[in-house]
């Protein structure tokens, strides 16, 4: 909601420059739901929390002994999840004042975790993908299935070899889970019932490397082994039957010249753009496409030669971050141009010289009584100065609610899946405060 306030005198466009670099040693990084923090996961298992306003590390979470493979933020950014190759998923509570930070919860698996996600509405539900190709939904709420194994359906033509889950995502409203398999199929599960909804094979695509759902749960994008990114309507994926002809993507993006492999891709926070990082040994490139225009290529942004390992879009600004394999996090953004006319009260900038035409009444003396009456009439109009706003923790929603007004939100069907997801979600909707701990020299 602060987009219009942030710079009310300028419009936003796609960033093309790096406005900040965080020397973090990270292999993976994620913005929180407000865009205030960046969580950075390292190869040695440590997780650092960066405050973007000060560009400083404000927390250091030590809980893993092997590389971090996944980071995820809860709905109101209070909880941070880190997944690691040390077989553990750890949840951290940012509202905790303990120093050093203690684990809020640990979920143990019996294989390295390759990625893990919070349910978009409830931090008690965690989706985890293991190196063995299995997918689990862990539910920490009482009365729910504590650990559900999402088994890929057995398909006749695939009996000869084992099929693994390569990647996964929740739909943005949390009702569905999309899995991408090593045999190039999208497998859809219902999140609350854990039942299989559909399986759609993308012919000729090869293993799905990663998968992304847009913020309004309309599109699903896949990044496949054949170096193509495909966008599908989720509604089409749901209605496709096993017997129907193979489903056609609404857009297919590829680098036809260099045949670049995509290390990662995801939808932008506005849902209008899709962006991907190239997986090449000596370039750091980000490609952007316009989803609404049928996947039209927009531009490529380059920044040096450090290979790119991860990307994330800012939840509400036209900004993103990219992580290089050397451990630098680059924050891409627009550096606003200095508007010198802002320093003078009644100045206006013009692009070209214009001949000034004096208005007929320009130097007329207004009658004093008349002027006073006019001012009084003007000032009698009520103004809306608002009420004190509590901005402790982000407003509920964050990325998933983006692009919807409160009225639209209320008009949405409050279905069973959502009701299920909102059981025991108080901690994800209650306001909270991130404690700023200033060291007290007398304490030491």
């Amino acid at each position: 909601m602060n987009v219009s306030l942030l710079n009310p005198f300028e419009t936003q466009s796609l960033p093309s420059t790096v406005r900040a670099t965080l020397d973090s040693g990270a292999v993976i990084a994620r913005f929180d739901q407000t865009g205030r923090f960046v969580a950075a996961g390292l190869r040695d298992g440590s997780v650092f929390l960066w405050d973007l306003a000060t560009q400083a590390v404000v927390r250091n979470f030590e809980g893993h002994v092997r590389a971090i493979t996944g980071l995820s933020w809860s709905r109101n950014s209070r909880f941070l999840l880190s997944a690691s190759r040390d077989w553990n998923v750890v949840i951290w509570d940012l509202a905790s004042r303990s120093e050093p930070p203690q684990r809020y919860h640990t979920i143990r698996f019996d294989a390295p975790v390759v990625s893990a996600f919070f349910h978009p509405l409830n931090s008690n539900v965690v989706l985890a993908i293991l190196a063995t190709g299995e997918a689990f939904v862990v539910d920490r709420r009482p009365g729910q299935i504590p650990r559900a194994d999402l088994r890929l359906p057995v398909v006749e033509d695939a009996v000869s070899h084992r099929v693994n889950v390569q990647c996964a995502t929740f739909s943005s409203n949390g009702s569905l889970i999309f899995l991408g398999s090593s045999d190039g199929a999208i497998v859809i599960f219902n999140c609350s019932t854990k039942l299989l909804v559909n399986r759609i094979k993308i012919p000729g695509a090869g293993a799905i490397r990663n998968i992304s759902c847009d913020p309004r749960s309309r599109y699903l994008a896949t990044n496949s082994g054949d170096r193509n990114i495909r966008i599908f309507y989720i509604s089409a994926l749901l209605s496709a039957t096993a017997h129907s002809e193979t489903i056609e993507p609404i857009a297919r993006m590829t680098d036809t010249i260099a045949r670049t492999r995509w290390s990662t891709m995801m939808f932008a926070g506005d849902g209008e753009h899709l962006f991907a990082g190239s997986d090449t040994a000596n370039s750091h490139e980000v490609f952007v496409w316009d989803v609404a225009a049928g996947g039209q290529y927009l531009k490529t942004m380059e920044n040096g030669k450090e290979p790119l390992s991860d990307l994330d879009w800012h939840p509400h600004l036209s900004e993103w971050l990219s992580v290089s394999t050397l451990g630098n996090i680059y924050i891409w953004g627009n550096i606003p141009k200095m508007k010198w006319s802002a320093f003078a009260a009644e100045f206006e900038e013009v692009d070209e010289n214009v001949e000034y035409v004096e208005k007929e009444t320009e130097f007329d003396q207004e009658d004093k009584a008349e002027a006073e009456r006019r001012t009084k009439a003007e000032e009698d109009a009520d103004v809306d100065i608002g009420h004190p706003q509590k901005l402790v923790g982000p407003e509920s929603g964050g990325r998933i609610m983006l692009g919807k007004t409160a009225a639209q939100e209320a008009a949405l069907p409050h279905d069973e899946d959502q009701a299920w997801a909102e059981i025991d979600s108080e901690l994800d909707t209650r306001p909270w405060t991130f404690p700023i701990v200033v060291e007290d020299p007398e304490e030491e």
Binding site: M1, N2, L5, L6, N7, P8, F9, R36, D51, A53, T54, A56, V58, I335, P336, M338, K339, A342, F343, A344, A345, E346, T375, E378, E379, A381, D382, V383, D384, I385, G386, H387, P388, Q389, L391, V392, T433, F434, P435, I436, V437, V438, E439, D440, P441, E442
Partner: protein, 332 residues
């Protein structure tokens, strides 16, 4: 046009502790404590329910001009004539950080709502943005051509408003430090004594030394409301907002020992609080002053109907004014 919801503040508690002028008052974010600053180099933390003097924060070597609370009500930041900004643990009464960087008296200070940044304004005409945890300067803005009298973040922290004796109020982008807008009354260039955002950050409330408070729509540079009736042509008296579902007042001190309350919409004076008329003698008795004192410091409670006021010449007792039933008395 007095409506049934017009205010009826009455004086209930007087807090004695400072030995020189009371320069600024601020209620804590949780509304339980009051911080007062004084020319006697100290900051005092008070419990507003009992009136108990909880802590005296000593360390500044010159008078203290302004104070600000962090969002968890644990820390206060103070701005002083000794050129420094200091961060204190108000609960323990200890100093935790000294922020050096200004080369003239620091006049105003404020936290952002996340309390990870501090903004300070000084007689060196700059505004500095500080990293609270590290105590370093993130940005120094040459904001004005005269001393900066107030600085405040919008509720979401994305923009900053400043005012100065050069007569201007300016709006800045926090991230880039760039000037977004300048607001000035075209007829007069009287010094700006204070400026603050309205709760929705769509307007700024600016008091100038022509005894006028104006509400500006800074997007269009249009003055939408003017409030007059008090006397203010010498001191940087802040104008405060007391706004929620049944409060809609603008509160300001005055150089005639009174505190004025205006209705935000009708611009009419709805109550005048008369106080700060006496002098505390060493024997603890009151003596009525011959010349009116100046009510420099005024603060409005974040959620309850309480106003705090402090004066600078002789009547140094901080007054707490209540517009709510006295629970304590009824209980007894």
């Amino acid at each position: 046009m007095l409506t049934s919801t017009s205010p009826h503040y009455e004086h209930r508690i007087t807090l004695f502790g400072h030995t020189q002028a009371v320069t600024s008052l601020k209620f804590s974010t949780d509304g339980l404590l009051l911080a007062s600053t004084s020319s006697d180099h100290t900051i005092i933390i008070w419990n507003i329910h009992t009136g108990v003097h909880l802590k005296t924060l000593q360390g500044h070597t010159e008078g203290v001009n302004d104070v600000a609370w962090s969002n968890d009500s644990e820390y206060v930041a103070s701005a002083s004539d000794d050129y420094s900004v200091r961060i204190w643990n108000a609960q323990r009464g200890t100093q935790v950080k000294t922020l050096n960087g200004h080369n003239n008296p620091v006049f105003c200070v404020n936290y952002n709502s996340q309390s990870n940044l501090l903004a300070s304004g000084s007689f060196d005409e700059t505004v500095k943005i500080w990293d609270v945890i590290r105590g370093t300067i993130l940005r120094s803005i040459s904001a004005h051509s005269d001393p900066v009298t107030s600085v405040q973040f919008s509720y979401d922290g994305t923009i900053i408003v400043t005012s100065s004796f050069d007569g201007l109020a300016r709006v800045w982008d926090t991230t880039s430090g760039q000037c977004l807008k300048t607001v000035v009354e075209p007829q007069s260039h009287d010094p700006c004594a204070s400026v603050c955002f309205t709760p929705n950050a769509q307007f700024i409330l600016c008091s100038t030394l022509d005894s006028t408070i104006r509400l500006w729509d800074y997007h269009t540079s249009r003055c939408v409301k003017t409030y007059k009736g008090h006397k203010n042509d010498l001191y940087a008296i802040p104008a405060c907002l007391a706004v929620d579902k049944d409060r809609n007042w603008i509160v300001s001190g005055s150089e005639d020992h009174k505190i004025y309350l205006w209705d935000v919409q009708s611009r009419e004076i709805v109550q005048v609080l008369e106080g700060h008329t006496g002098e505390l003698t060493p024997q603890g008795d009151f003596e009525t002053l011959t010349s009116p004192d100046v009510v420099l410091a005024v603060a409005t409670h974040p959620s309850r109907k309480i106003i705090a006021s402090g004066a600078i010449h002789a009547d140094l007792g901080i007054r707490l004014w209540f517009d709510e039933p006295d629970v304590k008395l009824n209980g007894v």
